[in-house]
């Protein structure tokens, strides 16, 4: 029991399952509906099985955000045991989860700081981790929320998808729409800006993808302070491994490296063979 401040997030934070329990973070699951079945993200189906199924079918899974009622229930339960809640969620441009959390936050008596991380997957996860660390350091409620917002604003994310089709079919392609239909076999590298998917670069050939991602990483770290890194993949551990190899020494100097998989909800929109790097310096 971590004391008076609760930290809440949703399943799209894509932190390893063990993390939540170890650090006393409450997770509200999003839902994936796949071929007549309904799964709670990370709870009822793991990424591995999910991507294997995704590869075999033409049917696109559908996702839904947690309801206001679910959030309210979580907040109410926590209100019985804690005094304040910091609730951190994926970009409002990608999902209505934050809105649901905000509405629910009005339904409890204790202060709830709802934070739109404007990130996705492990990006959100890093923000949650920052809040956890701040709480462990004994910071106040406002300081924890402030820290979370600060980290959310400076976290960088870069991801490579196997194909743009999932982003496009799922309606989350954002400004990367311009990359679709390029006839040539181009590998797009994408990022999030203001919570929306935008293209970072387009390259030919897989090797270039890693070279570009490494360049981006090096251009965005100053080498001072502590480096917090995260790697996530959708049934593509080789992608993460290669990226780690390419980045090399930097990985060693990081204060923390979290490796995880991209969960089913985010996975619905990016598809298998996606891998991502997220990081910030403090």
């Amino acid at each position: 029991m971590a004391g008076k401040i609760a930290i809440v997030t949703d399943s799209t934070a894509d932190l390893p399952l063990s993390y939540y329990e170890q650090h006393d973070v409450k997770v509200v699951p999003l839902i994936v509906r796949f071929e007549e079945e309904t799964f709670r993200d990370w709870v009822d189906i793991g990424p591995n099985d999910f991507y294997k199924r995704m590869r075999k079918t033409n049917v696109l899974p559908k996702t839904s955000q947690p309801s206001v009622a679910e959030f309210a229930q979580v907040y109410k339960q926590l209100a019985a045991e804690t005094e304040q809640i910091v609730s951190i969620h994926l970009s409002s441009e990608l999902s209505g989860t934050v809105q649901a959390a905000e509405i629910a936050s009005e339904m409890v008596d204790i202060p709830v700081s709802v934070i739109d991380a404007k990130l996705a997957s492990l990006g959100t996860g890093l923000v949650v981790d920052a809040a956890v660390r701040a709480r462990e350091e004994g910071l106040s409620f406002d300081e924890i929320a402030g820290k979370a917002r600060e980290v959310a604003a400076k976290t960088k994310i870069l991801f490579s998808v196997g194909t743009l089709k999932y982003l496009q079919l799922g309606g989350r392609i954002g400004k990367a729409q311009a990359l679709v239909g390029s006839i040539l076999n181009i590998k797009p590298i994408l990022t999030l800006r203001d919570g929306v998917v935008v293209p970072y670069k387009k390259v030919k050939g897989t090797n270039k993808v890693f070279a570009e991602m490494k360049d981006f990483f090096l251009a965005n770290v100053e080498g001072e302070g502590s480096l917090y890194l995260g790697f996530a993949h959708a049934d593509f551990p080789e992608g993460v491994q290669r990226l780690k190899d390419v980045i090399g020494a930097e990985t060693a100097r990081a204060a923390s490296v979290i490796e995880s998989e991209i969960g089913c909800v985010i996975g619905t929109y990016v598809g298998p063979d996606t891998f991502a790097i997220v990081f910030y310096e403090d």
């Binding site: 239909g181 006839i183 670069k201 030919k204 270039k208």
Partner: protein, 531 residues
């Protein structure tokens, strides 16, 4: 001081509207987001009105009834795009109402406008507000009562244009996609521009003269200053309101005064710099409701900003020279906006390149010549053009592909040029064609009809088989760091043959990514890009 318009005036007015549209064509194109963001509204309106003018020119009979038929027929046949079709319906409605009246006055025009609105709305299956339909509708309603006061046509048209501009400014609030894009409706703006052209012609003024004087004119980022800044509108309830008295009191405060309605409920509209005084006068007469005061200067500046803002998104345009349908498609899909056809010999004229540079709706231009023989012509073209342009010295389509991947619309022209040139230097290009005569090259005997493979401007391989020539050339070109091979098959190569070659290459180099596209290029059976 025009009291009436006759059939013989129509051609001149249509011409004036066309001239105005042509001047703003690019601006209008850049606003296009609804219903489809395909950027052609300005062009489509120009072409539609041009067709009207052409039909008029063909019609010697200048009676109104004959002119009406010509204009209506011309617009119908020449209508392009959504905007063009809607315009043609508006024109039809307008001239149908005019009928065979030889001479039309302000009140005829008001009636005709009303009919134009009806016909246009009927013609669209699902009319949407916030488009040119709304602008015409609002403009038409502003015409209804002033027309009854026997105004000069210019004065009426001025009132119409004021309202049309206001309506245009409101379009983003009616149509979310406009608001999101930060623009006003392109078709609506086209209508305003046409109206301005016609008004200028009626007044015998140059368009610039006109735009300075009457109302928010849009375009450009200069500060807009209007003689009267605030538009005040409200309902006035009273007993037997003395319209004449009220009208003249309000006219002393500003212009565009309208006092309309039954004796005990008037709708008031005034442009002034003292909206407070306007309201004071009105409250002395009756009680006010639904009061709206708009700062027209801000609206105009906002619109000017929107129009200017609609620009930077397509700040840089890309021109490429190409031959081969498949190659043109790939280039277009990579962001090339204008393709200059290279013909059989990849030798377009400077004039053709210049035309493309000038036509492209962007202020800055990048040119990809895709052949070393064209680089000079491209550089020549740039010297002749007023636009800021740079040539990326691509000597093959494969280099162009890489350069286009490196293009970043957020970067400046010169930064892009650097990145793109850099990308070119990473690509190696090989070419396979047929020998047109016997020859000898570096101890190779070449027979007419052999496939010859060129790399670095030298014949490196020769043989009877396309597949073998390709394999040998690629082996020569490859080095350790290469990862991808892109093949473009030419016009003379069948799909089967191309696939055979690709399969052989892919099997021979399992560690490389091999990709084949039907380029359709003349002369070269195979173009090979390695990087």
């Amino acid at each position: 001081m025009t009291q009436t318009i006759s059939g013989s005036d129509v051609a001149r007015l249509v011409d004036a509207s066309l001239a105005a549209l042509k001047r703003r064509q690019n601006e209008i194109n850049r606003l296009n987001v609804f219903p489809v963001p395909d950027g052609d509204t300005g062009t489509n309106l120009v072409l539609t009105v041009q067709a009207m003018l052409e039909e008029l020119t063909k019609t010697p009979d200048k009676s109104m009834s004959s002119v009406s038929k010509a204009v209506t027929f011309g617009s119908l046949m020449g209508a392009r795009g959504n905007a063009g079709v809607i315009l043609s319906q508006m024109v039809r409605g307008l001239f149908d109402a005019v009928g065979s009246s030889e001479i039309i006055s302000a009140s005829d025009i008001a009636g005709a406008l009303q009919n134009a609105v009806t016909v246009a709305y009927q013609a669209v299956r699902k009319p949407v507000e916030g488009t040119m339909l709304t602008v015409l509708k609002d403009a038409s309603s502003a015409a209804q009562s002033p027309a009854k006061r026997n105004l000069d046509i210019e004065v009426l048209l001025e009132k119409i244009l004021v309202e049309a501009n206001l309506s245009l400014d409101r379009t983003p609030s009616l149509l979310p996609v406009l608001k999101e894009a930060g623009v006003v409706d392109a078709g609506g703006y086209g209508l305003v521009v046409m109206g301005e052209g016609i008004l200028a012609s009626l007044k015998g003024q140059e368009l610039e003269e006109l735009l300075g004087s009457y109302a928010p004119s849009g375009g450009g980022e200069e500060e807009i200053s209007l003689e009267y800044k605030y538009c005040t509108e409200f309902l006035l309830k009273g007993n037997n309101i003395d319209t004449e008295n009220l009208q003249s009191k309000l006219e002393s405060l500003g212009n565009s005064v309208m006092v309309v309605g039954p004796p005990d409920l008037k709708r008031i509209h005034v442009h002034s710099n003292t909206p407070g005084k306007v309201l004071e006068i009105a409250t002395g007469v009756g009680s006010l409701s639904r009061v709206r005061i708009n700062n027209m200067e801000e609206q105009a500046e906002e619109r000017a900003r929107m129009l200017a803002f609609a620009g930077p998104k397509k700040n840089i345009g890309i021109v490429a020279v190409a031959s081969g349908e498949g190659i043109k498609k790939i280039l277009a899909s990579l962001g090339v906006e204008k393709i200059v056809d290279g013909g059989q010999g990849m030798n377009p004229s400077t004039a053709e390149i210049l035309e493309a540079v000038d036509e492209i709706p962007a202020d800055e231009v990048l040119i990809l010549p895709n052949n070393k023989n064209i680089v000079l012509a491209a550089q020549s073209a740039i010297k002749e053009s007023k636009k800021k342009a740079l040539v990326i010295p691509t000597s093959s389509f494969l280099e162009a592909f890489s350069a286009l991947l490196a293009y970043d619309p957020e970067k400046s022209l010169s930064d892009n040029a650097v990145e793109m040139e850099d990308a070119c230097s990473n690509v190696k290009t090989g070419e396979i064609t047929l020998a047109v005569r016997d020859s000898k090259s570096k101890a190779k005997i070449i027979k007419k009809g052999d496939y010859i493979g060129l790399f670095d401007h030298e014949i490196k391989v020769a043989g009877k088989s396309l597949k073998k020539a390709a394999q040998e050339l690629i082996d020569l070109m490859l080095d350790e760091d290469d990862e991808t091979i892109t093949l473009l098959s030419g016009y003379d190569v069948s799909i089967n043959e191309a696939n055979e070659v690709m399969t052989a290459i892919a099997e021979g180099h399992p560690d490389l990514e091999v990709e084949l596209h039907a380029g359709g290029q003349p002369l070269y059976h195979l173009l090979i890009g390695i990087e």
